[in-house]
């Protein structure tokens, strides 16, 4: 595999929570990932089309605002239809409306076809090593983040 993997990142549905997305994009880029950031209000189609266009190895979906269940349903099926059915898919954020038992939440999203499901408050430091394993790629992280903001 190429030394710099490409991933598609975005906040799905009618969700406008932009802060976590900015930080994820920044941290992933700092770690050497090529980040295609759709930003907020991203539709399922945008995720799929960008993944195809850029030959991405993973799709990272955020949903913060509670409608994730409705917004994410069918995404895996669409990747299959589009011929990228085996692409790695992560989802994270506040994935359901309200406080719900985490095991149940994880189950709901795994059943939808996500490979990994991340709870509220996940830090980039916890995502990047996992991505490294799942994409068998060498992370170029040196200590913690530094430098200036690439996207702002």
């Amino acid at each position: 595999m190429e030394s710099r993997p490409t991933i598609v990142l975005g906040v799905i549905g009618a969700d406008v929570h932009a802060v976590g997305n900015r930080i994820l994009a920044y941290a992933l880029a700092e770690a050497g990932v090529k980040v295609v950031n759709l930003g907020v209000l991203a539709s399922q189609e945008e995720f799929i089309n960008s993944a195809i266009e850029t030959g991405a190895q993973a799709i990272l979906v955020s949903s913060l605002y509670g409608h994730g269940e409705m917004d994410c349903r069918g995404l895996r099926e669409k990747t299959v239809e589009a011929g990228i059915g085996s692409i790695l898919m992560y989802v994270g954020g506040n994935l359901v409306v309200g406080k719900m038992d985490w095991n149940e939440v994880e189950e709901i999203y795994k059943n939808m076809g996500f490979d990994r499901v991340f709870p509220p408050g996940t830090l980039p430091d916890e995502v990047i090593p996992q991505l490294k394993i799942d994409l068998s790629w060498d992370v170029q992280m040196e200590g913690s983040l530094s430098g200036t903001c690439p996207s702002c």
Partner: protein, 484 residues
């Protein structure tokens, strides 16, 4: 049609109104004269503006939660609980995210899924879908004033339905409900659509019905310096008043440094009144709203109580007229009704215990007050300049030019060039001014404060410092000190 800050002609308004009411079938339920009659019959304890006037007179800070679920009777039950068990002084109805983006069909699906799942699948109440009669049922079942709280760039139909439905206050504005809540909506459109809302409120006002209007102060909720939200709030206030609004509440989201927060609330009211008289508007009542910390919360409920309580302290010492309350579930999800009531009760315990105590008057407070005023005036002056005297056109151009700029906002209309960071005492300052029209005095002030922190932490202020600040409160701190 050119965007201008001028009171809409009633005919023009009526013409557009016909289209608005056709956007969803429930629009047909709105009959303005009948609605005015309905509003007239509401008892005064259900009128937001009257409760605010009482709060101002008695020096009380009213506590208001956020709350909304998909279905009507569940919403009524929830709000009753917050009123009776929680002791909320005024109530909200928070609107779901599909409605906010006028996706009424998706909201409809959400209603049906909620019925099917037996739990709310929507993060708020889809008032448009439910319609006028449903809103009235809510208003009638409760004893305190109700406000619509949302985040809708085009809230015209929502306003029509909820005001006809007996709500007596309506949050939002053409900037504050666009920049943090949308990606592709042009400011010219959202400002115009909010002129419509304000014109509607003005129409009620002309007919003897005061509806309170509240620009959304916290914006993105994340390290927004007071001058930014103040400038936007005051501009929205002036735009609203031009359309006939007479009861305005201006909001501000807690930054966390007590002196800055108290100075922010005081300067907000003083500046608004200064501009209102400068623009020669009279008979406008301005009140203030303090939002408990709007950024990321800690996950542990007990730590969240700490954050909530500190917000209550600042609201009380600032003598804000109203405080918007967070809950111990904030970091996790839409709160249970118990968690929501808990936030109100913790807040009211503090408000009451502090109601007889005062913020100490110091030079530091005065200095903070003055810098906020100076910055805010610089931002508004530039808006007037760019608009050649017209605030509506000026606001649009200011965002284009980046002389108004909101940190971390999703909107493409926003330059996104400024970068806030905390100083060594936790006050929010600017690390990057972007294109803000600030003179050297202001810039030096910020730089000096930030460099104090840099020295203290032995590191150069950078985006890493900003990231640390974004996480800080959720990790139990105010200032994001470097990890050891």
């Amino acid at each position: 049609m050119q965007l201008t800050n001028e009171k809409w002609d009633i005919d023009e308004f009526s013409k557009i109104r016909e289209e608005v009411l056709l956007q969803w079938p429930t629009g047909a339920e709105v009959e303005i004269q009948e609605a005015i009659g309905y509003q007239k019959n509401l008892p005064s304890e259900k009128r937001f503006s009257e409760k605010l006037a009482w709060a101002e007179k008695t020096g009380t800070t009213l506590a208001q939660p956020r709350a909304g679920v998909a279905l009507i009777s569940e919403l009524i039950e929830l709000l009753k609980y917050l009123q009776d068990a929680g002791g909320a002084d005024v109530l909200p109805t928070t609107i779901d995210s599909y409605t906010r983006l006028n996706r009424y069909q998706e909201a409809q699906n959400g209603i049906e899924e909620s019925r099917a799942h037996g739990r709310s699948m929507l993060n708020g109440f889809p008032a448009v879908n439910h319609g006028v009669a449903a809103c009235r049922r809510i208003v009638e079942e409760l004893n305190v004033p109700l406000q619509v709280r949302h985040g809708t760039p085009d809230a015209r139909l929502l306003a029509e339905i909820t005001l006809a439905g007996g709500f007596t206050a309506f949050e939002g504005g053409g900037i504050s409900y666009n920049i943090p809540y949308a990606k592709d909506v042009p400011l010219s459109k959202s400002i115009r659509d909010w002129q419509y809302v304000d014109r509607l409120v003005g129409y009620y006002e002309e007919n003897g019905i005061t509806i309170n209007r509240e620009p959304f102060g916290p914006l993105t909720g994340t390290l927004v310096p007071p001058c930014i939200s103040h400038a936007i709030g005051i501009i929205e206030c002036l735009l609203a008043v031009e359309q006939g609004v007479r009861s305005i509440s201006l909001g501000y989201g807690q930054c966390g440094n007590l002196v800055q927060d108290v100075a922010a609330i005081r300067s907000l009211k003083e500046l608004a009144e200064e501009y209102l008289s400068d623009f020669e508007y009279s008979n406008v009542t301005v009140t203030t709203v303090f939002h408990q910390w709007m950024g990321g919360f800690p996950q542990e409920e007990s730590k969240a109580f700490g954050v909530i309580s500190w917000g209550a302290v600042a609201a009380a010492l600032a003598r804000a007229n109203k405080v918007i309350v967070k809950t111990p579930h904030e970091a996790l999800g839409v709160p249970s009704r118990e968690a929501n009531a808990a936030g109100i009760m913790a807040t009211k315990q503090i408000l009451n215990m502090l109601s007889d105590q005062k913020m100490p008057e110091t030079y530091e407070l005065f200095e903070e007050l003055e810098i906020i005023k100076k910055e805010t005036r610089a931002l508004i002056t530039k808006v007037r300049e760019l608009g050649e005297g017209d605030l509506a056109a000026g606001a649009e151009r200011a965002f284009q030019a980046g002389t108004l700029d909101v940190p971390f906002a999703p909107s493409r209309a926003n330059a996104g060039k400024i970068m806030p960071v905390r100083d060594n005492r936790g006050a929010v300052r600017l690390l990057d001014f972007g294109n803000l029209p600030f003179d050297d005095d202001i810039r030096d002030f910020h730089r000096e404060r930030i460099s104090q922190r840099g020295q203290h932490e032995s590191r150069d202020p950078s985006f890493q410092m900003v990231v640390d600040d974004i996480y800080a409160i959720s990790k139990g701190m105010l200032v994001g000190r470097p990890r050891r």
